[in-house]
Symmetry: C2
Subunit: 136 residues, 2 copies
């Protein structure tokens, strides 16, 4: 019997059954900088992503565009060390409280929510960094 | 020509076209307490909900379970006065920075993310208030 098949491993992941996965098997995930409260990004997780996040202590998401697990910072080095995992009252949203290494946004900005509505238009609340897009 | 049909009204809502509505016409919305950074809740908005939120200055969401617009606090009085509306880098998540009147969660807790993962189990990080559920 492999470790993954053992009753112990199965029991260890029973907490994942609490999550209300949607019809795509996903749940909304929000990452927040633990020390400042800054909201860094919003992404999605499937069961494997949330299991990996809890097991490894670094945020792993499900990339809908690439249809694969995506360990945040795997190519950029901008990892998210997870301090706390929370679930909301109806079990369909996960909050990660993290320590963000470098910028969270692929544009190089500290966080992804840099467009602010002002007078009926979106304005950039944070300037783009000098470098061009730093896609992961 | 009614006001809604006028070129001015149409132009006023052109900022809504920036948002990447999903195949249900929805976008993820996260509400954050402006003064403390506390993440209060996650819900969804359709175009009408986001337009109403910007126009009225109070958070309005789309209730998927009731299939109707839902002005947060409309029955409980626990309104969310919106200080800032932000959009993320790929235009598919909205962040509301708000002043929350009373508890944000229908359980009476201050925020909805009160389940914390500890040692492979979800534990309640905030106690339930004395009252029973305070559903809106």
């Amino acid at each position: 019997m492999s470790e993954a098949d053992s009753p112990r491993a199965a029991a260890d992941e029973s907490w994942l059954d609490r999550v209300q996965w949607d019809d795509r098997g996903l749940v909304v995930a929000v990452a927040q900088e633990a020390h400042s409260g800054e909201i860094l990004m919003q992404a999605y997780m499937n069961r494997d992503a949330l299991a990996a996040t809890a097991r490894e202590g670094f945020a792993t998401y499900w990339s809908r565009s690439r249809a694969k697990l995506w360990r945040k910072g795997e190519s950029s080095g901008h990892l998210q060390a997870v301090e706390e995992i929370r679930l909301d009252c109806d079990n369909d949203a996960v909050l990660l409280r993290v320590r963000q290494e470098g910028p969270a946004c692929h544009t190089g900005r500290r966080n992804c929510f840099f467009q602010r509505l002002e007078g009926g238009a979106w304005v950039e609340a944070a300037p783009a960094p000098d470098c061009t897009e730093m896609g992961e």
